[in-house]
């Protein structure tokens, strides 16, 4: 059997997705027997020119992690789409924007200021911001411009499959790769998941009728390790999150944060989680309901921690303020339905 050509790329990401590939461990050796790695900037020294020189469709499979935040990300997304037979949005950033997508709440300028000047660990006495162009005696240096909003990969190019997770669980990655190699890919476009939601794999006891008067955050209480977090007044995204991770966080006594995205047939994870949470309110008057609502700190960051960039809320916002977006010309908006 001839080997396949495999590529992996990181756009706007933290590097965790590449670690998830490294975490394949000895499976990497098995992989090396059936695949040639033709591009993987996180691990080996390739240049963009190497990819540009490839024939269209030369790459059999590309695992693309990271969101589209800069012109460069968008450019490489197009390039890799052109060169790849199968393009996979790998991990939460590429699939739904993930944590970096929360910067869409404030926009790129504010995010740049925060990152370059305001964070406590930054020492930047002159308050200089990254410049798109900078003149040096040797010539002009340039940085890619930021997109007006952070995009998911699918907003920029067509995607064949998605593997959710921040990062994807390496066992699931291996299963997905095996399915690909065996030519046994599912008809739906989600790979590396289990049926249903995290609650399905969660060992915690659900009494089932307990409602709550206030919500607390994980650092404010020591949670009972046996009981459902929601019934203890801790927001747990498990009910609105696709199974696949094996309920890792809940088993470590930490509520599910929702990184595997919504279950099949649910378009908007945040809306689903919001409704699930309100259902557990123990309020018998307007005032009580308001009090409970007030205990939910940062609802948007809680419900859309990973999926804001891919949410209806984001799309609604875009209608009235797309603005000047260097990536927008490349962004193909999906027809989204529920």
């Amino acid at each position: 059997m001839s080997k396949i050509n495999l590529a992996a790329y990181w756009a706007s990401s933290c590097g965790g997705c590449d670690i998830a590939i490294v975490e394949l461990g000895e499976h990497l050796l098995e992989l090396a027997q059936v695949a040639d790695i033709v591009f993987w900037p996180a691990a080996t020294d390739f240049k963009y020119a190497d990819v540009e020189a490839m024939a269209d469709g030369f790459i059999d499979l590309t695992l693309f992690n990271g969101a589209i935040r800069t012109e460069e990300d968008a450019h490489i997304a197009h390039l890799l789409r052109q060169k790849s037979k199968v393009l996979i949005a790998f991990g939460s950033c590429a699939m739904e924007g993930c944590i970096p997508g929360l910067s869409n709440l404030v926009g790129p300028e504010r995010a740049l200021r925060r990152a370059s000047i305001e964070t406590p660990s930054t020492d930047n006495p002159t308050g200089v911001l990254p410049q798109a162009q900078y003149e040096m005696p040797e010539g002009t240096l340039s940085l890619p411009r930021l997109c007006g909003v952070l995009h998911t990969l699918e907003e920029v190019v067509p995607v064949d499959f998605k593997i959710p997770g921040c990062p994807p669980n390496h066992d699931q990655v291996w299963k997905a790769l095996q399915a690909y190699l065996a030519g046994d890919l599912p008809t739906n476009r989600l790979l590396g998941v289990d049926p249903r939601t995290v609650c399905d794999q969660c060992p915690r006891v659900r009494e089932g009728k307990i409602r709550v008067k206030r919500f607390q955050r994980p650092h404010e209480v020591i949670a009972d390790p046996e009981r459902c977090f929601l019934e203890q007044g801790l927001v747990c995204a498990g009910p609105a999150t696709h199974a696949g991770c094996g309920a890792l966080c809940v088993k470590a006594n930490m509520p599910c944060r929702g990184c595997y995205g919504p279950p099949e047939s649910v378009a908007d994870q945040g809306a689903a989680l919001l409704d699930a949470l309100v259902a557990s309110f123990d309020g018998q008057s307007d005032a009580e309901v308001r009090q409970i609502v007030e205990t939910i700190v940062d609802p948007i960051g809680t419900f859309y921690r990973f999926s804001l960039a891919h949410s209806f809320l984001q799309k609604a916002r875009a209608l009235t303020s797309w603005g000047d977006d260097p990536c927008a010309s490349q962004a193909a908006t999906e027809g989204e339905t529920l």
Binding site: R196, C199, P263, A276, S280, D286, I300, L308, S311, L319
Partner: protein
């Protein structure tokens, strides 16, 4: 025509002995309950006075086999008005318990669980105002899993669980997600650009209206007649059935405002539905503000069956609030 042999004194005693049934015989048959009852608007055959009367006469078969004993939703609108202080929903429950023991079942509709999709998260068991849902071990495709099970004798078809279920595993006949969405989008209504985008001459509003918060038959007919390019009215069993995803989808398609209309505090037909509706809208408003969308565009409004033209007033108020937003949002588009 009631014949003496149909009258069963033991039936009366059984009801009296059942918790909640104690006050059966204090009924004067004045009919105040029937005059107050909201269920009658959709189910004219339901008459609490008549049921109590027949039960008091001991007409066992006639009472236990009737579909009407299941129709009371325990909203308790009649309770404060009954001159004898009878807690009628309790008596109804006592009668239903006897019916269940005699092998009768509620005619439905009732919420339904898709066993293969349900993950047993227990969101719905907490949501249901009637404690009609339990988690039970069940065999699904050869595997034992603990998933939701609806007691159709307790379900009142409010749809709150359908909204709450984060997996899309719960459904309810005409009130499931796909059906509601069809009604929202019918005729391409969702696909037209809105006023805040500078594309419509007046705000386009979507209204989710609780079926109990509106006055009477004629008012309903009038509401349907209000549907046009600028207004889409979708009736819900309860404001607690409103789906945040539908509200956000509408905004993402360019609908300018969404009105969720429910009952006044303490008047919910399904006990807690209105509080859930309010909670959802409050959180939506907070998130909209955070993302830079004017929260005024989504509003929870109250009404009751006693108010005239409350709906039109609320629609007008929302239109006005949105019209006032336009300069700001339009300049953002240009800027």
């Amino acid at each position: 025509m009631i014949r003496p042999e149909q009258m069963d004194r033991r039936f009366v005693e059984e009801i009296l002995a059942e918790p909640g049934g104690e006050h059966l015989l204090t009924c004067w048959s004045c009919g105040t309950c029937a005059a107050t009852c909201l269920v009658r608007r959709f189910n004219p055959a339901f008459n609490p006075r008549l049921i109590l009367h027949k039960a008091g006469l001991g007409l066992r078969e006639a009472v236990l086999s009737s579909a009407e004993i299941w129709a009371c939703s325990a909203c308790d609108a009649c309770y404060p008005r009954c001159p004898q202080g009878i807690h009628i929903s309790d008596v109804m429950r006592a009668i239903r318990n006897l019916a269940i023991r005699a092998g009768y079942e509620a005619p439905g509709p009732a919420a339904q669980v898709d066993a293969a999709t349900c993950s047993g998260c227990a969101v719905c068991t907490r949501a249901c105002p009637y404690a009609a849902i339990e988690r039970k071990p069940q065999m699904v495709n050869g595997q034992e899993r603990t998933i939701a099970w609806v007691d159709r004798n307790l379900c009142q078809a409010c749809g709150i669980c359908v909204a709450a279920c984060p997996s899309g595993a719960m459904s309810l006949e005409a009130m499931n997600d796909a059906e509601l969405l069809t009604r929202v989008a019918a005729g391409g209504w969702l696909e037209q650009p809105g006023f805040l985008q500078g594309a419509s001459d007046a705000p386009r509003l979507l209204a989710f209206v609780c079926q109990w918060s509106i006055r009477a038959e004629e008012e309903w007919e009038r509401l349907q007649g209000l549907n046009d390019e600028h207004l889409r009215v979708v009736i819900l069993p309860c404001s607690g059935r409103v789906e945040p995803a539908h509200v956000l989808l509408a905004l993402s398609k360019g609908v300018d405002g969404v009105l969720v209309m429910g009952c006044h505090e303490g008047e919910c037909h399904y006990q807690r539905g209105t509080y859930l509706g309010r909670g959802k809208v409050a959180l939506l408003n907070e998130m909209m503000a955070a993302v830079g969308l004017a929260p005024q565009r989504v509003r929870f409004a109250e009404s009751s069956a006693l108010e005239r033209r409350a709906f039109e007033r609320q629609v007008a108020a929302l239109r006005e609030a949105i019209a006032a937003l336009r300069p700001a949002e339009i300049s953002e588009v240009r800027g």
